[in-house]
Symmetry: C2
Amino acid sequence: MILKGNLLFAPELGKLECLPNGCLRLNDAGVITEICKQLPEDAQAEEVVDYGDKLIMQSFADMHVHAPQYPMAAMGLDLPLLDWLNKYAFPQERRLADTEYARKIYRRLAQDLIAGGTTRVVMFSSLHTDATLILMEELEKAGISGYVGKVNMDRNGAEGLQETTEESIRETERWLEECKRFTQIRPILTPRFTPSCTDELMEWLGKTAVERDLPVQSHLSENDAEIEWVRNLHPDCAQYWETYAKYGMWKKGTVMAHCVHSDARERAAMKEHGVWMIYCAQSNANICSGTAAVRQMLDEGISVALGSDVAGGAHLFMVRVMEDSIRSSKIKQKETGLPFLTTAEAYYLAGTAGHRYFGAKSGFSVGDKLHAVVLDDSRFAVDEGRTLEERLERAIYLAQPTDILAVYAEGKKVK
Amino acid sequence: MILKGNLLFAPELGKLECLPNGCLRLNDAGVITEICKQLPEDAQAEEVVDYGDKLIMQSFADMHVHAPQYPMAAMGLDLPLLDWLNKYAFPQERRLADTEYARKIYRRLAQDLIAGGTTRVVMFSSLHTDATLILMEELEKAGISGYVGKVNMDRNGAEGLQETTEESIRETERWLEECKRFTQIRPILTPRFTPSCTDELMEWLGKTAVERDLPVQSHLSENDAEIEWVRNLHPDCAQYWETYAKYGMWKKGTVMAHCVHSDARERAAMKEHGVWMIYCAQSNANICSGTAAVRQMLDEGISVALGSDVAGGAHLFMVRVMEDSIRSSKIKQKETGLPFLTTAEAYYLAGTAGHRYFGAKSGFSVGDKLHAVVLDDSRFAVDEGRTLEERLERAIYLAQPTDILAVYAEGKKVK
């Protein structure tokens, strides 16, 4: 099969490859076999899907998102963090004990992710094993791939939202066993954050991560009060990251959301150990955490990708996440003097960077299964004669999920 | 006629009035005659438009927007300000010499404003008299009311985008004469900003503003380089605002966009003289101007309303402007410690505050012509049982123009 249209992809940070009326040639497994500037001469026998003047872009990877909070996106954001947790986030997460409810909202979430062109995720579930399995089923059914984590939380939870250490271990074991049936969605160990796990649980999680070669996700240095709390809980650790490192969870491929207040030493530890920083620009502003030093981290060689952080972030759509990331970096520039993220850089971070976490090559690459969206920007094309670079920029600011005509994930058409 | 639905309006800053299944009673001129909690008993003879469970909200007022820049919204935002002006803004504004082009883009602009529920504007045109008249025609035809200004610019312009002083005066006279034919759209004097007008032109504009009792709009203290420039041009003025005051343009109802760097003395002058500050949160971030002290200004009693500032802002839709205003005020809180804008406050600023500039009362009020939107939030209602306050918050973060089912402006249904 051959897809024809205006190809736009980001082979490296800040670089944009544009092939007007280019072609992506795929084999039967949906793997890219050729990227060409025009229809290949030997294409006669193949099906050609001609998207005309539309933009064929890389799909998106949402690297930090709380699935159970999706129904409460954009609510309670006038409240201070603790009130928000008590009035909205905890009661909402508690509802996931109901598997029927889980099915309903996770099906909707999976549909909305695909509708917006997000084909890979690193995702938090709640502590409910059954609801987590339902989430994984719904994501896989929708064509999404990536990691989902059953949350571990055996202290400092809320009523009906805390496990005993024994339960947490037993349920995690059961969950990992059940996960074997999935092919595209894999498990990731998920201590909610240091304050919500006892030392015993952290130790078990760290051991399990190493023994079973499982990745780990959590939160890091999101706000000042949290950092202070962690310091009190672990007086033996000089910094927050060390509470993960102490138990063997600070390792290559560990995903840490936020890192708003990570200083030079914490950042050096991320770089040294191959830990990923997930930039959640909108959430950091919405819940008044601060503004992360994303340019500094990129300059220091830390692996960075983007997260919607629903429901700290109100928007699941990664095009919005790109726009917010750019604007947030512009505001940060006033403080640091470091350059803001360009359009091409935000596009790289929302696409290539996330996909690379899962082992993909950069941009569209021969040998990779296709992850792409087809975007129709005619709705906001008031004027003609714009370059593809300009059309990409306008799309990043103005596109809506309804402008995405088609989505390809793992080589298959899923929208 | 009676409109029935969930009424949501902002009678004062921070206060939200919610009438579930309430009614707005209108006379034949579209003036509100009664606001009731349920269908009045004597309503038999009147037409009832029942919007069911939809939200009937106040429409929006965009108090700062550059009409000629609409086709370049969301373009060139990676460029430094001067390159952006030279590569995008100036060439774009020059195109408005072509009246056919003006007709095309201004018709689209007017349609898009109404589609998004913006029923009142304070707007910059370009320096072209004929295009400005076309803009006024198209806005009025779409049902929009408010002020439009032919821009005055007799120095520091660009090739093909500067008038002689004599031309500027003559064309402004002609424009004011022609404006007499409009009923809903009225003229506002518009020196682009101090650096673009000679002292002679400023003097004439100030004199004309007083003699003909015309309002004035311009830019104030948007970025540091601009402020320095103004200081060099007017060494006799201690502060930027005094360059307007010197010529009689610093007066009740004068509209000043941005005011990002207005210090206590400049703010006191705004308060004292009844000058309005237009908060353009997204534009200020997009073009790296800084973050305005909106809470401080409100606390000090300055009249504040919101502007999209297209094309420094990428979005015309005032729902986006509200969201960006809230988020920007949250980031500012980190610096000032002052409270951020709540949902109810942003709604007041986008609706009531702007409408009051034009002489309307607060919220929905008996005696005012109806300015309202009917919003269908069912698309993002994943869960049931939300309060009207919660639904308003979700709408402010998640609504799109396509969610707006109906728009009333000056008492007439215009969408």
